[in-house]
């Protein structure tokens, strides 16, 4: 089941410059695992050892924070979108 993951600017260089990546999975966890496998450098930056998003990275499924859904166990529908939204600090 193909899911589109939106890659933020800061991580695009680890995804061959793409702003979105298609991976398979039926839960957020599946999708993030598949994303890590395809682009290990992204995985290393956004996930901890248990494969859970780090505290300074939020994952949105259909524009809703997965922490307020079923977190990484949230089920995802084919053709839907997952967004990675890291904390950014710049104002410079």
């Amino acid at each position: 089941m193909a899911i589109t993951v939106r890659i933020p600017t800061s991580l695009r260089k680890f995804a061959a410059g793409n702003d979105r990546v298609e991976v398979e999975g039926s839960t957020v966890k599946d999708v993030l695992d598949a994303l890590s496998k395809a682009h290990p450098e992204i995985g290393a930056r956004i996930l901890d050892e248990a494969g859970v998003p780090k505290r300074f990275v939020n994952i949105y499924y259909k524009d809703e924070d997965i922490r307020f859904l079923k977190n990484v166990e949230t089920e995802v529908e084919t053709g839907s979108e997952l967004s990675i939204v890291p904390a950014i600090a710049g104002g410079f």
Binding site: P8, T9, S10, L11, D19, R45, K54, R55, F56, N58, Y60, D63, E64, D65, R67, F68, S83, V85, P86, A87, I88, A89, G90, G91, F92
Partner: protein, 408 residues
């Protein structure tokens, strides 16, 4: 047939006879149509029915010398044109006053002709009110220069003269006079936000000038707060600038926030300051208008737990460890991006100050300049939030260590 044609011709050419009235007769006829009340009755009505609309139909120069609190000032000459912006409901009780009780009767008749059914004229006007010893106030007035300068604001029903005065009395603290702080300072100053605090420890560098439009070529080496003050004064001398050439820490942030600021615009450039601002604003109950940028991407939100929304820590409970933030790997930002994000922060600030519109509370607006797309994410209060939840685990300010030198 002929008679009909004649009648219409008469009215068309103005030949039909019109009843002539003297000034006194006109006033008398209005008096018979419009209900009148004494100042005592007016006061009792205003207290018993706070829904009553009190209209002051005197000229602006008269209003400037004093008026009744809560009265809406609409000069007699503009009454019919503006009344529907103030109230469309024809059943709402309205009390009108002028200086002596004559113009208010005529004004009352005009409103009756527009269908306002519950109109009363206050006998004796403002003079009788003052003589009765009832409370009144002298309202801050816009100068004629200010009325021209802010005319495009004043003509908006959402702002008007009252809103403009609110902005002129507002005190907004800008953290950072850089990429985000530049458009914020310019547009807040142009809008007439009366007092702007500017916090920035840095001096202007040539590499800033690609986006930090407060500063000029000749400002290289000058403290940013001085350069910002010059730019703001040049744009709008109404604005008072308070400079803080300091790096915010747990030592100084409360001293600064406690100098009467009502809202913070966060345009700083590092995580340690952002968490410090968030926590301090939560402790003080101040709204925090957040903007951040990276390369081609921007984020805007309003963190205001007091308004029922989340804080920055609800979103990101902890800062990334030093060197781990994705944004530390490389910096760089397209120059116009802070223009977009900083200007959005100003719009949110102005809305919050005026209490108009729907603020960006509980929402994160995310901008992708390369795709030219805005996306909106829902933000929720985290019931486990370390700062703004009911059982906070963080109750004092934390100085995190510097995250990455590349971001500064």
């Amino acid at each position: 047939m002929n008679a009909q044609i004649l009648t219409s011709l008469d009215s068309f050419s103005g030949l039909r006879s019109v009843t002539e009235l003297t000034k006194d007769q006109l006033i008398q006829s209005a008096r018979t149509a419009v209900k009148e009340c004494s100042v005592e009755e007016a006061r009792a009505q205003l207290e018993a029915h706070p829904n009553t609309l009190l209209l002051d139909v005197r000229e602006p120069e008269e209003v400037a010398t004093g008026s009744i609190a809560l009265a809406k000032a609409v000069p007699r000459g503009f009454l019919e044109l503006r009344i529907e912006d103030i109230e469309r409901n024809r059943d709402r009780p309205i009390i009108i006053y002028c200086a002596g009780g004559t113009r208010s009767v005529l004004a009352g008749r005009s409103l009756q002709e527009m269908g306002y059914r519950n109109v009363t004229s206050m006998k004796g006007g403002f003079g009788a009110w003052k003589n009765a010893g009832f409370p009144w106030k002298v309202e801050q007035q816009l100068s004629s220069e200010q009325k021209i300068r802010y005319s495009r604001h004043i003509m908006l029903p959402e702002i008007g003269e009252e809103g403009q005065k609110r902005l002129l009395n507002a005190k907004v603290l800008l953290v950072g006079a850089g990429g985000l702080g530049s458009p914020s300072a310019f547009y807040l100053a142009a809008a007439g936000v009366g007092t702007l605090g500017v916090v920035d420890p840095d001096v202007v560098d040539y590499s800033n000038l690609q986006r930090q439009i407060l500063h000029r070529n000749e400002d290289a080496g000058v403290p940013k707060v001085d350069s910002a003050e010059r730019a703001i004064r040049d744009l709008n001398p109404d604005v008072k600038v308070v400079k803080y050439r300091e790096f915010l820490t747990s030592e100084n942030i409360m001293r600064i926030l406690d100098e009467g600021w009502e809202l913070v615009v966060d345009g700083c450039d590092n995580f340690q300051t952002r968490y410090l601002i968030n926590d301090a604003c939560v402790f003080r109950g101040l709204p925090n208008v957040h903007g951040s940028i990276f390369q081609f991407e921007g984020q805007v939100s309003v963190f205001a737990p007091k308004l029922g929304g989340p804080c920055y820590r609800c979103l990101y409970p902890e800062p990334p460890p030093p060197g781990m933030a994705p944004s530390c790997a490389e910096a760089g930002v397209v120059g116009a991006l802070p223009g977009i994000v900083g200007t959005m922060q100003v719009l949110e600030t102005v809305k919050l100050l005026l209490g108009k519109g729907t603020p960006l509370v509980g929402r994160l607006a995310q901008f992708d300049a390369l795709a030219m797309k805005w996306r909106e994410m829902k933000l929720r209060r985290d019931p486990e939030c370390p700062v703004c939840s009911e059982h906070p685990t963080i109750t004092t300010l934390i100085d995190y260590e510097a995250f990455c030198s590349a971001s500064r």
